[in-house]
C-alpha cells in the first residue's frame, strides 16, 4: 500500500494551464476518484501520477519519496485505459504476461501471477482468445488483469468503464469495488460519471478548469458542496440554483427576479438584508405543494420508471423536480413547488458556500 502526495503540481501546454497548482494527499489504500467535466484536467493529473506525462512544476511523492523524475516503469504503478489498450495480435493470456516476459521474470513467477489474476477476475474461459474475439467487458477485465499481474503499488484507472454499455458498466463497477476490497491497494480512478464516483470512491476530488474545487467523501460532496460548480456537477438531475436578494418581510426572504419569495428561515444566519445570494436545492428534495407560493412552469417531463423528472422554469431560471410519484402534471402546466428550508444550500455572490462550517 502506498500513499501519494501531490505538491503544487502543474501542467501547462504552451500557454494553456491543463492543471493549476494542485495539492492533494491520498492515503495509503484509499480509493480516490477524480471527477469533472471534459477538459478539466483529471486525466492529465492521472497521467502525471503515472509518469506518462511530464510535470511542468511541482512534485509527486509516493510514500514520502519524490518520484517526479522517475519514468513510468519505475514508479510501481499500473494503469487501465478507457480503450483497453490490449495488444491485438496477442491472446488474452499473452496480454496478461507480456510485461512480465519482457522484463525478465521467471516462468514460474509469471505463471503464478497470471494464475492469480485469472482466478480473481475469472478469465479462464477466454485466455486463448484475441481481443477482437472478446466483448467490451471481457476486454476490460483482461486489461484489469494485466494491471493486476504487475503487482503495482498504485492502480490507476482512466475512465475504464466509459466504453461499456450501461448494464455492463454497473456490473464492472461492482467488480472494481470488490477488487479494491480484496487487494486494499491505493487506487486512483478518473471518470466523468458522477454515479461511478459516488459509488466507488472513499473520497472524491472534483476538478474544474485544471483546479481542485472540492475534496471529500461522496456524501460530503453531495450534502455540502463547497461551491455552485460542485453543487451543480454532482447529482442528477443537477441542483437547482436560484439567485436573488435577501429582503426583510416579517422574517428573511430571498426575493427572486420574478418577485417570488423563498423563506430563509433555518438558513446559515450569515446573510443580511440586501445581500445577493443564491440558494440551491436538489430536485429530489423538491415536491409539489399547494401550500407553497413558488410557481414552476413545467416544460418537459421525463419518466425513468423509479422517478419522474420535471424540467421547467421559475422566473427566468431553470428548475427541476424529481419525484417518486408518477406524472403529476403535463408540459405547459404550472405547479406550486415547495421544499424544506433545511434542504437549502446557500452560496454567496462569488458562488462559494455560505455557512458550511456553521452547519456541521
Amino acid at each position: 500500500m502506498t500513499s501519494i502526495a501531490l505538491k503544487g503540481l502543474k501542467k501547462k501546454y504552451g500557454s494553456k494551464h491543463a492543471v493549476r497548482a494542485t495539492d492533494l494527499e491520498i492515503a495509503s489504500g484509499e480509493f480516490i476518484v477524480f471527477v469533472g467535466p471534459s477538459g478539466c484536467g483529471k486525466s492529465t493529473l492521472l497521467r502525471m501520477i503515472s509518469g506518462l506525462e511530464e510535470v511542468t512544476d511541482g512534485r509527486i511523492l509516493f510514500d514520502q519519496v519524490d518520484v517526479t523524475a522517475r519514468p513510468a516503469s519505475k514508479r510501481g504503478v499500473a494503469m487501465v485505459f478507457q480503450a483497453y489498450a490490449l495488444y491485438p495480435h496477442m491472446t488474452a493470456a499473452q496480454n496478461l504476461s507480456f510485461g512480465l516476459r519482457m522484463t525478465g521474470h521467471s516462468a514460474e513467477e509469471i505463471a503464478r501471477r497470471v494464475e492469480r489474476a485469472v482466478k480473481i477476475l475469472r478469465l479462464d474461459d477466454y485466455l486463448n482468445r484475441k481481443p477482437a474475439q472478446l466483448s467490451g467487458g471481457q476486454c476490460q477485465r483482461v486489461a484489469i488483469g494485466r494491471a493486476l499481474v504487475q503487482q503495482p503499488r498504485v492502480f490507476l484507472f482512466d475512465e475504464p468503464l466509459s466504453n461499456l454499455d450501461a448494464e455492463l458498466r454497473g456490473s464492472m463497477r461492482v467488480e472494481i469495488a470488490a477488487l479494491h476490497r480484496e487487494l486494499d491497494n491505493t487506487m486512483v480512478y478518473v471518470t466523468h460519471d458522477q454515479l461511478e464516483a459516488m459509488t466507488l470512491a472513499d473520497r472524491i476530488v472534483v476538478l474544474n478548469d485544471g483546479r481542485i474545487e472540492q475534496v471529500g467523501t461522496p456524501l460530503e460532496i453531495y450534502h455540502e458542496p463547497k461551491n455552485i460548480f460542485v453543487a451543480e456537477f454532482m447529482g442528477a438531475p443537477r441542483m437547482n440554483i436560484l439567485p436573488g436578494i435577501v429582503v426583510e418581510d416579517g422574517g428573511l426572504f430571498l426575493l427572486l427576479d420574478s418577485n417570488q419569495k423563498i423563506p430563509l428561515a433555518g438558513g446559515p444566519g450569515a446573510v443580511d438584508v440586501g445581500d445577493r445570494v443564491s440558494v440551491g436545492v436538489r430536485p429530489e428534495h423538491v415536491a409539489s405543494s399547494r401550500a407553497s407560493a413558488l410557481e414552476m412552469r413545467v416544460d418537459f417531463v421525463e419518466q425513468t420508471g423509479a422517478m419522474t423528472h420535471y424540467f421547467g422554469r421559475i422566473g427566468g431560471h431553470e428548475f427541476r423536480m424529481a419525484s417518486s410519484e408518477e406524472r403529476q402534471c403535463r408540459p405547459g402546466e404550472r405547479i406550486c413547488v415547495g421544499f424544506a428550508a433545511e434542504r437549502l444550500h446557500y452560496f454567496d455572490a462569488q458562488g462559494q458556500r455560505i455557512g458550511a462550517e456553521a452547519r456541521r
Partner: protein, 290 residues
C-alpha cells in the same frame, strides 16, 4: 388475376434489362482497364512464345503465336548464366528488402513516437530528398561507392536501397496510426523502447511492412541503372543486366529478350502473391475501442 400479372411483368423486365445493361457496362469498363494493364505483359508473353519463323513486326500485328513454343525460354538458359544472375538478383533483393524494412521502421519509430529537438526538421529534410531524382544522385553516389571500394560488389549494389526516405515516410505514417495507449501500456509495464518497437509496434504495421517490401522488391529487382553503373564484373550481374545482355548478344532477338523478361518477372509476381494477404485491413481490430 391475369391482367394484374401482365401489368407487373413488363416492369420487372424493364428493371432486369436495365440491371443487365448496367452490369455489362461495368464489366466492359473493367475489362478495358484490365486490358490496358495486362496488355503489355500479354504482348511480351506472346512474343516470347513465337517461333523463329514468325515475323514479330508484321502489320497488322498478330497477337496469338501461329506455332506457340517454349523453346525461347530454354534458349535463354543456354545463352546466359541465367540461374547465376537469378541468384544474384535474389540475394541483392532479399538483403536490400530486409535492410529497408529494418532500417526504415527503426528510423520511422522515433520520428513517429518520440519527442526530441529537431524531429520535424529531420523529417522534413528526409522527405525533401524524395524530390531528387536518382539520376541526380547517381554521380556523387558512384564517387562515394568507388572511394569506399564498393564498386563491383554486392554491398555497393544494395546500399542505395537499404534505407529510403519513402520507406521511412511510409513506416512513420503507419506507426502514427497505432493508438498511443498500446505503447504507453507497455512503457508502464517496464518494457523498453526497442522491445516495444519489436513486439508491439512491428506486428501491428505488417500491412505497411508488406507494402514497403513489395515496393522495395520491385524497385531492386527491376533496377537497371545503378547495377549498370556500379557492376562491371559479369559474375555479379543481376537479371536486368543479364536480359539487356541478351539484346546485345543476339542482335536484338526480341523473342529471347521477351522470354528473359518473362522469367525475370515471375519472382515479382510470387512476392506480391505472398505478401498480399498482409494488405487485408483490420490488423488493428480489437486493439482499442473505436
Amino acid at each position: 388475376m391475369k391482367p394484374r400479372i401482365t401489368a407487373f411483368a413488363p416492369r420487372r423486365h424493364r428493371g432486369s434489362f436495365a440491371s443487365i445493361g448496367h452490369v455489362l457496362l461495368r464489366y466492359a469498363v473493367l475489362i478495358a482497364v484490365a486490358a490496358v494493364f495486362i496488355g503489355p505483359f500479354a504482348w511480351l508473353l506472346s512474343t516470347a512464345m513465337k517461333s523463329g519463323s514468325e515475323n514479330i513486326f508484321q502489320y497488322p500485328p498478330q497477337f496469338l503465336p501461329e506455332q506457340p513454343t517454349l523453346r525461347n525460354f530454354g534458349r535463354v538458359f543456354q545463352a546466359l548464366p541465367f540461374f547465376s544472375y537469378f541468384i544474384n538478383s535474389v540475394f541483392v533483393a532479399v538483403i536490400a528488402v530486409s535492410c529497408n524494412l529494418v532500417f526504415c521502421s527503426l528510423a520511422a519509430y522515433p520520428l513517429a513516437r518520440m519527442s526530441f529537438a529537431g524531429k520535424n526538421s529531420i523529417f522534413l529534410v528526409l522527405i525533401s530528398t524524395m524530390m531528387l531524382p536518382f539520376q541526380l544522385l547517381m554521380i556523387p553516389l558512384y564517387g562515394i561507392a568507388v572511394a569506399l571500394g564498393l564498386n563491383n560488389s554486392f554491398l555497393g549494389l544494395m546500399i542505395p536501397h537499404a534505407c529510403t526516405a519513402f520507406g521511412i515516410f511510409l513506416m512513420r505514417q503507419a506507426f502514427l496510426a497505432i493508438p498511443q495507449q498500446l505503447e504507453e501500456s507497455a512503457r508502464i509495464e517496464g518494457v523498453n523502447r526497442f522491445r516495444i518497437w519489436r513486439h508491439v509496434m512491428l506486428p501491428l504495421v505488417k500491412p505497411a511492412l508488406a507494402t514497403l517490401a513489395v515496393f522495395t522488391f520491385v524497385g531492386v529487382w527491376g533496377d537497371f541503372l545503378w547495377p549498370l553503373v556500379i557492376m562491371d564484373d559479369q559474375a555479379g550481374f543481376t537479371l536486368p543486366l543479364g536480359v539487356n545482355k541478351l539484346a546485345g548478344a543476339f542482335g536484338k532477338d526480341w523473342r529471347l529478350v521477351a522470354a528473359g523478361a518473362i522469367l525475370s518477372i515471375i519472382p515479382t509476381i510470387a512476392v506480391f502473391l505472398f505478401t498480399q494477404r498482409f494488405f487485408v485491413s483490420g490488423a488493428l481490430r480489437g486493439a482499442v475501442k473505436g
